[in-house]
């Protein structure tokens, strides 16, 4: 599968060809002398970070992230990001890496695409063509702070500090350091507008006014956008309605095939009585399954939970092992199946709904495994009593992380404050920049994030002239 990765390199030519100007995003250093961005501690420059002091390297990462977004978005009004390195919450097992958000939101400004609708300051200024909140100190558009305590080596047992490289190829992130650039890149996106200001907990609009996200967040079952839902309670229910909360913006919808892969599916090829395709969860460990998948006959493992050495190894060898979830870790089950000679593992869920998480880590595992629905496991086990079952750990016809043709947003139940709604679904594959769990390898690829920005009103560098978003000109607003 080919994915369009909008890295900086690929966008350079677009920027050169367009007559529009890339927006300037400036980091406003609010640290005091000798601290944070002003820390004078001497450090060795990196291949991708020329700073000779700790403070200079931190600032270089920040400005690099800011420049990356600036190179992608059009605008004539400078966007200012208030930034500081401060001691934030940290322990041996958890730490706040950083935070960011809009300082102000605006509605009914000049050129506002949608009336009576909140827009983040950075986007509002860009649309208005002026700095709506003022340009003096304290009037920045985005506020951000990141955890200086990470560099003390006392946070997150085993982590010695931040990694300040900006190129994961030129400077491979060490395993015992936390890459700063992906965190800043992700958080700046929130500040630029990748968030709703409608409460996921109550469904209430901010001060009674919807924000631009509510035009595009929708319940796929009813087709109703958040803006048009009948009540706050309806929106609150939608915020916890995985997999039904989707983004209906035309850009994201049009671009999804360029960034999302086919959803992993278990395909039963035989017997005909149970043949078909069903959703599956690939394991976080072992080799990834790649198209067209892997195919083999299935044998039910004994014991059924696979938590001890398989007693029917002779039958399992050279086939997929069917194992039930429960009692022990997924990695233990797959390791036992591997030891018995299985070519792959199918783990049936032990709950009526949902898929096994298939999490865990074991570098010794060399066979693929999928988690499947309980009903699918039951059907396979039933068929095995009298027939040969042949299956493929493969892919379905729909894109991962989608529902009804729209990209899903993160809407688990219960609500996860700060994660729910304002992120893409975790079921997207490959990982997207704006999922709630940060993919620390995403340094500059903006995937569907840029498409969403275009949906809410940003113009991307390279968007066709003249100005006048065809989306709004065609009256997409519901």
């Amino acid at each position: 599968m080919n994915f369009v990765h909008k890295s900086l390199a690929s966008l350079t030519l677009l920027a050169m060809a367009s007559t529009a100007s890339a927006v300037t995003i400036t980091v406003v250093n609010t640290d005091g002398p000798g601290e944070g961005f002003n820390d004078p501690t001497a450090v060795t420059p990196l291949a991708s970070n020329p700073g000779t002091t700790l403070g200079a390297q931190r600032l270089h990462v920040f400005q690099t992230a800011a420049n990356q977004w600036g190179a992608l978005l059009e605008g004539t009004v400078e966007i200012k990001v208030r930034a500081a390195f401060n001691p934030l919450t940290c322990s041996g097992t958890s730490a706040v890496l950083g935070s960011a958000g809009a300082v102000t939101v605006h509605q009914n400004f000049a050129n506002a695409p949608v009336a009576n609708t909140w827009y983040s300051a950075a986007l509002a200024n860009t649309l208005a063509g002026s700095d709506l909140g003022g340009t003096a100190a304290g009037q920045e558009e985005i506020n951000s702070q990141f955890n200086v305590s990470i560099d003390t080596g006392t946070c997150l047992n085993g982590a010695v500090g931040w990694y300040y490289g900006t190129d994961p190829v030129a400077d491979v992130p060490p395993a015992n350091r936390v890459a700063l650039l992906p965190v800043v890149f992700h958080e700046l996106a929130h500040g630029l507008g990748f968030q709703t200001f409608t409460s996921g907990a109550t469904g209430a609009f901010l001060n009674g006014t919807p924000d631009i996200w509510t035009n595009f967040l929708a319940d796929v079952a009813t087709g109703t956008t958040w803006r048009n839902m009948a009540s706050d309670a309806t929106r609150a229910a939608s915020a916890i309605s995985d997999p039904n909360l989707v983004w209906t913006g035309p850009r994201v919808t049009a671009d999804q095939a360029s960034f999302l892969g086919a959803a992993p599916n278990l395909i039963i090829n035989a017997p005909a009585s149970i043949a078909g395709s069903s959703v599956a969860q690939p394991a976080a460990f072992g080799p990834a399954v790649t198209p067209p998948g892997v195919t083999d006959d299935v044998v039910a493992a004994l014991p059924a939970d696979g938590c001890t050495a398989l007693t029917n190894a002779a039958a399992v060898a050279g086939n997929f092992a069917l194992i039930d979830r429960g009692t022990c870790n997924f990695t233990v089950k797959v390791a036992n199946a591997q030891a018995a000679g299985a070519t792959g593992v199918i783990i049936a869920n032990n709950a009526a709904t949902g898929l096994p998480g298939m999490g865990g880590a074991d570098p010794t595992i060399t066979i693929p495994s999928y988690g499947v629905l309980q009903s699918v496991g039951t059907a396979i086990r039933g068929a095995l009593a009298t027939q040969t079952v042949n299956a493929t750990l493969g892919f379905g016809s729909t894109l991962s992380g989608t529902n009804g043709g729209f990209v899903r947003m993160h809407a688990p139940n219960p609500l996860v404050q700060g994660s729910s709604v304002s992120h893409f679904t975790v079921d997207a594959f490959p990982n997207l920049l704006m999922e709630p769990s940060l993919n620390s390898t995403i340094f500059d690829e903006v995937d569907l994030t840029l498409s969403l920005f275009r949906d809410i009103g940003w113009r991307a560098v390279g968007d066709p002239d003249p100005p006048g978003d065809p989306v709004f000109a065609n009256g997409f607003e519901p």
Binding site: A136, G359, Q417
Partner: protein, 160 residues
């Protein structure tokens, strides 16, 4: 100037109120955003009308915003005596801090979020020893799982 001074007092008064109090200064005027002392405010085309709204969520980290009465602009340090008193009383911005909504001279409306809706990125060591990250709201950033969120899902995938 009279208008701006009045605005400063209104904002400072809002910061002086107990956290979580409903500080919406609704007025008898038809527009819900008009303040009571409309007599002290120049015409809507010139004045800045301020409404203070309580914000959802508990209080957390501090990002402060104040209005400078001399020019009506936002600044990050208290300027008036009322604002300094309010800061001394421990009112911080952040989730739960009042959101200040202002009608601007150009007819637009601005809301000063005062730290509300900020997103925090938190890292956890999972049972597998690997680092996992998750976006939280600032109020919950870095906190261990706690009761009022019920069964908050773990940042890492289930392992059994």
């Amino acid at each position: 100037m009279k208008t701006i001074r009045w605005v400063a007092v209104a904002v400072a008064a809002a910061f002086a109120a107990p956290a979580g109090a409903a500080e919406t200064q609704a007025a008898p005027a038809p527009q819900a955003e008009q303040q009571e002392k409309t007599a002290d405010v120049a015409s809507p085309t010139e004045g800045v009308v301020v409404t203070v709204h309580p914000a959802p969520g508990p209080m957390a980290s501090a990002v402060r915003a104040y209005i400078d009465p001399e020019n009506g602009r936002l600044v990050d340090r208290p300027v008036t005596e009322e604002q300094r008193r309010a800061e001394a009383e421990g009112l911080t911005s952040g989730p739960g801090a009042p959101i200040i909504q202002m009608r601007m001279p150009d007819g637009s409306t601005m809301a000063i979020l005062n730290g509300n809706f900020e997103m925090a990125n938190t890292a956890f060591r999972g049972p597998d020893g690997q680092l996992h990250t998750v976006c939280d709201d600032v109020a919950h950033a870095g906190q261990p799982r706690h009761v009022h969120l019920k069964q908050q899902p773990a940042p890492a995938r289930e392992e059994r």
